[in-house]
Amino acid sequence: MENFLQQLINGVTLGSIYGLIAIGYTMVFGIIGMINFAHGDVFMVSAFIAMLLFLAITAFLGISSLFLAFFIVLLAGMVLTSLWSWTIERIAYRPLRGSFRLAPLISAIGMSIFLANFVQVVQGPRNKPLPPMFNDVIKLTSGGDFDVTLAYKQIVIVAVTALLLAIFWFVVQKTSLGRAQRACEQDRKMAALLGINVDRTISITFVIGAALASVAGVLYLVNYGVVSFADGFIPGVKAFTAAVLGGIGSIPGAVLGGLLIGLVEVLWSAYVSSDYKNVAAFSILIVALIFMPSGLLGKPEIEKV
């Protein structure tokens, strides 16, 4: 029982990170119907940006307060990662709007390969270990087989995720920007006729997705304390699985899917086999796409001729 409780805590922590990345996939798919294959690598770039900013802040500015540094890295990382995503959309996806269906997907795969190898070239192929942050733990139970603990970093991760999701939810539901975004999602042509700048809205969608992925990158760094250039692919596919499982196009679904994938991964490694934990995630992707392509919370898609 203690073990299960501990795994549950770990799973929710991991799931929050996947959920944040998954929102980027689901929003982009919702608005232009394209799988942004490079999103996982944008997440990886953001983790690198966070790592470098963190080192730079402590080395050059001499800021010793961890919370202040964390806050600065979070904000600056969001801005810089958004810039990356904006540029990628502008040069690799926008010219392809109206091209044949698979063109953006292939372009995105190329972008993903480019980003991973660009980081490998400029930052070197070795893993980058950061000193551990937020190390203290709270003991939840004691006296059993082993103590169930809740690490500070896990609290930070879940708290930041919850806060960001709240802000994001407000933006999408209550502001004119969110309204324009939802309008484009429903009918791009009609939205354009009503005076919405569709290109700008799509750009903003990419920017928001990247900002959330950047938060996920910072949290990933806090959780694992190490990042490498190859870290974009597997978390990217898992987050995409989360988006599909929750129902692609649905934002609450992405978060739910992320939590579920995180739990499945952690429980699978604890009780079945840690070697095959990625197989579990990929199998969920296959099963979800085949048997319930509209996911848990998505709307069924009807193909019209």
Binding site: F48, A103, I109, G110, I113, V122, E303
Partner: protein, 516 residues
């Protein structure tokens, strides 16, 4: 994109100049923002495994200047000759500038020579643009079309496939005669065999992606199944290559059907993701099922290729001894070259024939419009499954060739990157075009092999500069650039498989190539 008005007589009026300068400034600023932490800083773990930060402002400045200049030049120059020349010049100047900064041991004459040549090229680009400004460009066909229109050109075009085939057959012998056994090994092996493997894989995947229009991101799974089939059958039961080859093909085809069945209902991009997941699962199983596959260590000491039973080792009864030649590993490589050439040609021949059969026409119809296809009574289930099975079978053949060539297989040869490489070859070649795929394989694989040869860059950038690292970087970029500028690939017209009176090329505008 273009800012200036096209019909003004002077190409460099002030409005255009201001616009270009503004855009260049913006590109520079953007580069600064993108590169700020990730180029300007570099973190490398030191001996105590703690990250130490280095700053590299010179890298960032180079990147900013380079991209701003590239944007400026692309806005100022319209003619493609002028533009290409100027871009090449810019690249050269950047190389020179970079080497002056990064490698102190570079010879000054080399550095300044490169910079001067680069600036000269840029100047020549502007001169070309100015000269072309007075005259209107002839709207006739391009140079290639003009050559093709002449009688000799038409003859050349008709025979080009045979000329290419002749060149391929002669290639290893010419190389052997020219460079000798030791010198030609690298060329035949790294260029010849390596490229032909990818030509074959590209043609195999072309059946699935190019003809049937099913985007497969996990093609490497079938390649892996073929390789491991041969490796396991040969090491466990001692079967020879020629028995294992069809078995590997059949096993891979079954894997293809196994994958095909559940994914039949999925649309283009969902299908892509499922095949991607499938390929990754195969990779992970190969990695973790240690009892069968020996895990990451792989299977070694696989029997090497024999000349119909005669080994290529330096031993009595070996190939060299039997034919009275001095022993050299080159004979095995040459045999491998002809073997893969044969296998690739079988793939090509089968594809070309299949295209004319009802099943091939059903594939192409399926690619163009699945709903119309179903309305006309075509069994889409069988059509998709045969495409998957046949594509997988050729992948399996290539895989077992890979195993017999290497004598060693490990899961690391079958990662997603390989799938992406094969897919990009099919896409760059122009999906569905056989000759395009072959061209793309030569350019992509030969090009990346050539990168290993660029040792002179080490003189410019210092010894720790490794051009091979840039291989996948350029690869990814090429995929994006290709999609943006030539989404239909190198060969973008389509020759119909059946026709009424005369075969006429169909412009790519009219076919829904590859849409799911």
């Amino acid at each position: 994109m273009a800012g200036g008005s096209g019909d003004s007589t002077t190409p460099f009026d002030s409005g255009r100049l201001t616009y270009a300068v503004k855009q260049a400034g913006f590109a520079g600023l953007l580069t600064a923002g993108l590169g700020f932490p990730i180029i300007a800083f570099r973190a490398e773990p030191d001996i105590r495994n703690q990250l130490a930060l280095q700053t590299r402002w010179s890298w960032l400045v180079t990147a900013i200047v380079l991209l701003a200049a590239a944007r400026f030049l692309s806005l100022m120059l319209d003619g493609w000759r002028a533009r290409t020349l100027a871009m090449a010049g810019l690249l050269m100047a950047a190389f020179g500038l970079g080497s002056a900064w990064f490698a102190s041991q570079a010879a000054p004459a080399l550095v300044w020579g490169t910079i001067a040549a680069g600036l000269l090229c840029i100047g020549a680009g502007f001169w070309l643009e100015l000269r072309a400004a007075g005259t209107t460009a002839p709207a006739g066909p391009g140079p290639l079309r003009r050559i093709a229109a002449t009688r000799a050109g038409a003859l050349l075009g008709n025979w080009s496939a045979w000329i290419g085939l002749g060149a391929l057959i002669a290639f290893p012998l010419v190389m052997l005669g020219w460079l000798g056994p030791a010198g030609s090994l690298k060329w035949i092996n790294n260029y010849g065999v390596q490229i032909l493997i990818f030509v074959m894989l590209g043609w195999g995947l072309n059946i699935v992606v190019g003809l049937a229009g099913l985007l497969d991101l996990g093609y490497v799974a079938f390649y892996a199944v073929g390789a491991y089939s041969y490796a396991l059958l040969a090491t466990t039961f001692g079967l020879t290559f020629w028995i294992c080859l069809p078995l590997a093909g059949i096993l891979a085809a079954f894997t293809g059907i196994l994958l095909g069945f559940p994914v039949l209902r999925l649309r283009g991009d969902y299908l892509a993701l499922v095949t991607l997941a499938f390929g990754e699962i195969i990779y992970l199983v190969l990695l973790n099922w240690v009892d069968l596959t020996n895990g990451e260590a792989g299977i070694s000491s696989i029997p090497r290729v024999t000349f119909f039973g005669i080994t290529f080792y330096d031993e009595p009864g070996g190939f060299s001894e039997l034919f009275g030649l001095t022993f050299s590993p080159i004979y095995r490589t040459i045999f491998l070259f002809y073997l893969i050439l044969f296998l690739a040609l079988v793939t090509n021949f089968a594809t070309l024939r299949l295209r004319r059969m009802p099943i091939g026409r059903a594939w192409e119809a399926l690619r163009e419009d699945e709903i119309a296809c179903r309305s006309l009574g075509i069994n889409t289930v069988n059509t998709k499954l045969t495409a998957f099975a046949l594509g997988a079978m050729f992948g399996g053949f290539a895989g077992s060739f890979f195993a017999v060539r290497q004598g060693f297989v490990s899961p690391n040869s079958f990662t997603f990157i390989e799938s992406a490489t094969i897919l990009s070859i099919v896409v760059l070649g122009g999906m569905g075009s056989q000759i395009g795929v072959a061209l793309a394989a030569i350019v992509m694989i030969g090009g990346t092999e050539l990168l290993r040869e660029l040792d002179f860059l080490k003189q410019l950038f210092g010894n720790d500069f490794d051009p091979a690292l840039y291989r996948m970087l350029i690869f990814g970029l090429a995929m994006v650039v290709m999609m943006v500028f030539r989404p239909r690939g190198f060969i973008s017209t389509r020759a119909p498989s059946i026709f009424l009176k005369k075969r006429k090329g169909v412009s790519s505008e009219f076919v829904g190539q590859g849409s799911g």
